[in-house]
């Protein structure tokens, strides 16, 4: 853990996450997506009760750093089930009023918001996540 500047993780600045090149796609997608002017990474990716927030950071921070040390970065980085649940809670935290009718059902809401809102968090799937759309820089 000494090899990384771990304290940088405690901030709220999105460019912190983007310290790692592997996070480029997520960063670029967020930057060009609908939420850029409203939210930062931590608004979605960490729990917002004070204590759990830092607990989660420690846990996923460990994942991040070990992934680097052992050079086993997955080919395609994908959100884990647990972090999806955290994000879902955060969607609801902000959009509670809008979605209250969805939760009135006596049956459990068994889907993630981003099952439908697939491009809301990180921009257009297959477009902003991909390098091929660099139309402006080529030809």
């Amino acid at each position: 853990m000494y090899v990384s500047d771990f304290t940088a993780y405690l901030g709220n600045n999105p460019s912190t996450c983007n310290n790692c090149h592997v996070m480029d796609a997520a960063y670029e997608g967020w930057y060009h997506g609908g939420h850029q002017s409203w939210t930062t990474c931590n608004d979605c990716h960490t729990p917002h009760d004070l204590i759990p927030k830092y607990w989660v950071k420690a846990k996923s921070g460990y994942h991040h750093v070990t992934a680097f040390i052992f050079n086993n970065i997955p080919d395609a980085i994908r959100a884990k089930e647990s972090s999806k649940e955290i994000v879902q809670e955060n969607c609801v935290r902000c959009h509670e009023e809008t979605v209250s009718a969805l939760f009135e059902s006596p049956m459990e809401m068994d889907r993630f918001c981003f099952d439908c809102h697939r491009s809301t968090p990180h921009g257009e799937r297959g477009i902003s996540l991909l390098p091929y759309q660099h139309k402006e820089q080529d030809q």
Binding site: E97, T98, A101, E104, E108, I127
Partner: protein, 413 residues
């Protein structure tokens, strides 16, 4: 995982208590004005899309080949494009397919009075009663009671035939998830059915499973053991025919792209809509192409792209289906000609007729399904490929039965 949210209390305190199985949607509408007012809109939609929409044009005028395909059956007399839920009662009463012998079963999917009637008299008595007589107990089109339980507003299976068909497959719908119910609730009506026995008991042919091959097998077995031989006899070919009707549920759930990705009927046909602050499910159920921004836009950012694809897919399916129809009609006329010959081989003629029956079951599964293939494009096209092959085999078999190629009119091919 939504524990940080208030327990599921309704934002709005219910204004009135709704009686169990209440047929009158206006009562429910006092508590849920958005859902009620959007449901009412289904009564007046009359926009047309390339292959669907709510303009109740005659399918027989649009494609006169259907008159030949259904020769000898009510569907060759009157068969219209369907429209929104609020028209169900008007339309079933107006169709020329209904006559003196029509049983009550024909009301099964047309009214919110049904859950109450089934509860009182049971489905067997409901189905056995003549259509005209049962009609005196019915005054509501489709409504809230066809889909929801009044007390909890949960989505429920209301049609006893669906509960029985699921049970026959060993499935207990009360264990289904909410997302599953957003599809299953439509299966109360949007499914293939037949009338079993003298009591005209409403039955879904799902014992072997719900895909086309399993349904075709079901009807092959019911023919063999005599339990259900035919819907009608074809006037020209003499084959014992089966009419397939609106198998949206069976077709969509047969491994379609969207079904496998976890998408439900309600996601496209009842997308969330905003009125002021709150989102609710629009109850103005119609062609999603009429509000694609909302119906497809949440999942697909490029709505122009997906709607263009719908057109591409539907055109492909329509063209392929047209070729299938020509092949079936060629089979029909060849069988008819063969049957008219004195020396025809009776066994081979029977084989030809059974091939005609089989071929038309496959074709009608796509023709009667209302999305022109979109709900499951690959499945539509492989089914049509099979239907064409079977139709041509029927024609070849008829030639064999005749022994001579004279039965092949050039225009029949």
């Amino acid at each position: 995982f939504t524990g940080n949210q208030e327990p599921p209390t309704r934002g709005v305190e219910p204004l009135v208590k709704i009686a169990a199985l209440e047929p009158d949607s206006a009562q429910w509408g006092i508590n849920f004005p958005n859902q009620y007012s959007t449901l009412l809109k289904t009564g007046t939609n009359n926009t047309r899309t390339s292959y669907g929409g709510s303009d109740p044009i005659s399918k027989l005028e649009a494609d006169p080949r259907l008159v030949t395909l259904f020769a000898g059956y009510g569907f060759s007399k009157d068969y219209n494009e369907e429209r929104g839920h609020m028209n169900s009662l008007t339309d079933v009463r107006a169709t020329l397919r209904v006559n003196d012998k029509t049983p009550g079963t024909c009301y099964s999917c047309k009214s919110s009075n049904n859950p109450g009637l089934w509860d009182q008299m049971g489905m067997a008595a409901f189905d056995k009663m003549p259509f005209a007589e049962l009609g005196t107990h019915i005054d509501e089109p489709i409504g809230c009671a066809n889909c929801h339980e009044a007390e909890t507003m949960r989505l429920v299976v209301t049609n006893p035939a669906l509960a029985e068909a699921l049970a026959a497959q060993g499935k207990d719908w009360t264990t289904f998830t909410r997302q599953e119910m957003r599809t299953v609730v439509c299966a109360n009506c949007h499914v293939e059915y037949y009338f079993k026995g003298d009591g005209k008991y409403l039955t879904f042919p799902w014992e072997n499973g719900t895909n086309i091959d399993q349904i075709a097998q079901y009807y092959a077995e019911s023919f063999a053991d005599g339990s259900f031989v035919k819907d009608w006899e074809h006037a020209q070919s003499g084959a014992p025919m089966i009419k397939i009707q609106h198998p949206e549920f069976e077709f969509f759930t047969a491994n379609s792209t969207h079904y496998n990705a976890g998408v439900a009927c309600a996601d496209c046909h009842m997308p969330y809509t905003r009125d002021g602050a709150a989102k609710f499910s629009t109850h103005d159920v119609k062609s999603p192409l009429l509000n694609a921004e909302v119906a497809c836009g949440a999942c697909h950012t490029d709505v122009g792209y997906v709607t263009t694809r719908v057109k591409t897919i539907q055109d492909q399916v329509a063209n392929t289906m047209s070729a299938t129809q020509n092949a079936i009609i060629a089979a029909i006329t060849t069988i008819e000609a063969a049957a008219a010959l004195p020396g025809v081989n009776a066994d081979l003629l029977t084989e030809a007729r059974m091939l005609h029956r089989e071929s038309q079951i496959y074709w009608d599964f796509i023709a009667a399904e209302n999305s022109m293939g979109f709900h499951n494009p690959e499945e539509a096209l492989r089914i049509l490929a099979n239907a064409t092959d079977l139709a041509r085999q029927a024609q070849l078999k008829a030639v064999e039965a005749a022994g001579s190629s004279e039965v092949l009119q050039t225009n029949g091919q």
